[in-house]
């Protein structure tokens, strides 16, 4: 039988926690046996999950203790409700109290859980604030995006509040889902069934080239583990907090992005403008080939 790599995308949140960190090291806070479920879903006759779609706790990464959370995309698309969001906030606050080396967030989420709309919206903003509190306290945050549901809505924003984002090509990082845009603005605006276009627009490769993610890896647990470890190691010697200089630089980066590409409508045109050779063929390249071609052309380094 052929030897397989283990797919990050195919793994459940709990499988990811088992496989990303040192074997058996994950220790859960407020585990499913506590049955802290959503107080709102029942009224809508919707099923609940014993962990409300997120597992939070601590684990070791090559011996280094980190705090971690993994959102389960299979449960309501990983969307953030009251309890789900509160678990993330609690984890980030505890990371500050315990001064851990880093927080590693395995993000897979459509954003605010519409069934708990208002509570979800406030909860996501609380997660953003708690994440930035952690950074201000010197605890770096690393976000991994590689699940089938991507990182959308508020969680797409949360991801970009972290120190480092690591993506696979299959991962997606954006704001509004293509179906939402198609519904609101028509199929001419965004054909959500054109999956190649969806991935060109929101997928890992495009985000890597624009500088929205710092590392791109193959859809392989081992690759994510290595990249997460490298990121945590590198961040251990840097300052985690936001600075005026860094945000001024980000302001310039985003202004330049808008000036250079704002009139374009096709991601391949952006890649071509970045002088990436044979830009149209980029989607066909494996992660290593892609990095070899793209690393010297990407923005934000």
């Amino acid at each position: 039988m052929t030897a397989h790599t283990i797919s990050y995308q195919e793994s459940t949140a709990r499988e990811r926690l088992q496989r990303l960190f040192d074997a058996g090291s994950f220790e859960e806070f407020l585990p499913p046996s506590e049955r802290v479920v959503s107080p709102h879903l029942g009224q809508l006759n919707a099923p609940v999950a014993f962990d409300d779609g997120v597992a939070v706790g601590r684990a070791r990464l090559h011996g280094v203790q980190v705090y971690t959370a993994a959102q389960e995309g299979g449960f309501m698309g990983g969307a953030v409700g009251e309890v789900h969001g509160a678990k993330l906030v609690g984890l980030l606050r505890r990371a500050v109290l315990d001064r851990v080396a880093a927080v590693v967030l395995l993000v897979e989420s459509g954003g605010v859980r519409l069934h708990e709309a208002n509570a979800g919206l406030i909860a996501v903003s609380e997660v953003m604030r708690a994440l930035l509190d952690a950074r201000a306290a010197g605890v770096p945050v690393v976000v991994l995006v590689g699940g089938a549901n991507g990182a959308f809505g508020g969680m797409g924003i949360v991801a970009r509040c972290a120190n480092v984002v690591i993506m696979s090509e299959e991962g997606r990082l954006a704001m509004s889902g293509p179906e939402v845009i198609e519904t609101a603005s028509g199929v001419e605006e965004f054909d959500s069934r054109d999956r190649a276009l969806v991935w060109r627009t929101t997928g890992g490769k495009h985000r890597y080239l624009l500088g929205d993610c710092q590392q791109i890896v193959a859809d392989d647990m081992t690759a994510f583990r290595a990249a997460a470890h490298a990121a945590v190691t590198e961040l251990s010697t840097a300052s985690a907090a936001l600075t005026l200089d860094a945000l001024t630089a980000e302001q310039q980066l985003l202004e330049q992005r808008l000036a250079r590409f704002g009139a374009m409508s096709e991601p391949v045109d952006i890649w071509t403008a970045l002088d990436v050779p044979d830009a149209a063929n980029l989607p066909m390249l494996g992660a290593d080939e892609f990095i070899a071609v793209a690393a010297t052309h990407r923005l934000g380094v």
């Binding site: 407020l30 809508l44 984890l91 979800g120 970009r160 603005s185 907090a241």
Partner: protein, 240 residues
């Protein structure tokens, strides 16, 4: 409400706010001190340009007017729903705005939000909800989406949602519900200048919205869950 009417009511001592493509910026006099004004109007959708303009204005204030309080005036229909904005990474622009608000706070700026008309999901989350505290006018609309759309997505009949919204602030739009959940610090019913002065004078003591949600009965589980996780204490059931 028209932003000019609002500004004239809010700043009897005068203001110099200009509007450019639905983006508001400038300053105003409150209780003898100058505060910076940043905001949006016309229910404008928040696309990459206007997110960037707001961030720029905040960074400019931090750089040129250390410690000057900032008031964000909020009126938006939410994030702009365009392929082009997604392609450009609108979430990064939104996050950048949120981070600039956070930075301003950490640099000693009091920064508060006021929803004077509409506040919807993505347009609200990196502005008013990132401020030290967010306030609202009584007639403001705050929501993630309308009940009809919510009914379609959740497949729960709209009548049932409407009924649930009577008792559970999670489902229905409106500043009252956000107040009950702690997302809105207070609703300014009258005497706006005094309310604003008091808000600017309020010391910031961290993000207390989940605690407020518990006190006010709008979000009963968020605070206990945060505490249980953060403190590592055993879970006490909160089934009341």
């Amino acid at each position: 409400m028209d932003w000019k009417t609002l500004a004239n009511t809010l700043f009897p001592q005068g203001h110099a706010i200009v509007e450019r493509d639905d983006f508001l910026s400038g300053d105003a006099q409150v209780d003898g001190q100058t505060i910076a004004i940043i905001g949006t109007t016309g229910h404008t959708p928040i696309g990459v340009e206007i997110a960037l303009a707001q961030a720029q204005a905040i960074l400019h204030t931090v750089r040129t007017a250390p410690g000057r309080p900032i008031l964000m005036l909020i009126d938006t229909q939410g994030q702009r729903l365009r392929h082009r904005d997604e392609m450009l990474g609108i979430n990064s622009y939104m996050a950048h705005l949120g981070k600039c608000v956070d930075l301003a706070r950490r640099h000693g700026h009091t920064i508060i939000g006021l929803v004077y008309d509409q506040a919807l999901s993505g347009g609200f989350i990196t502005s008013g909800l990132m401020a030290d505290a967010c306030y609202a006018l009584p007639d403001a609309t705050i929501r993630v989406m309308g009940l009809p759309a919510m009914a379609r997505i959740t497949k729960v009949p709209e009548e049932r949602l409407t009924e649930l919204a009577q008792s559970n602030p999670v489902f229905a739009p409106g500043p009252e519900n956000y107040w009950r959940m702690g997302g809105v610090q207070a609703i300014w019913h009258d005497d706006l200048p005094t309310q604003l002065q008091a808000a600017l004078a309020r010391p910031f003591t961290g993000d207390r919205r989940s605690a407020l949600g518990l006190e006010r009965g709008g979000r009963r589980l968020a605070q206990p869950v945060i505490e249980a996780v953060a403190a590592g204490t055993p879970w006490q059931r909160h089934d009341d």
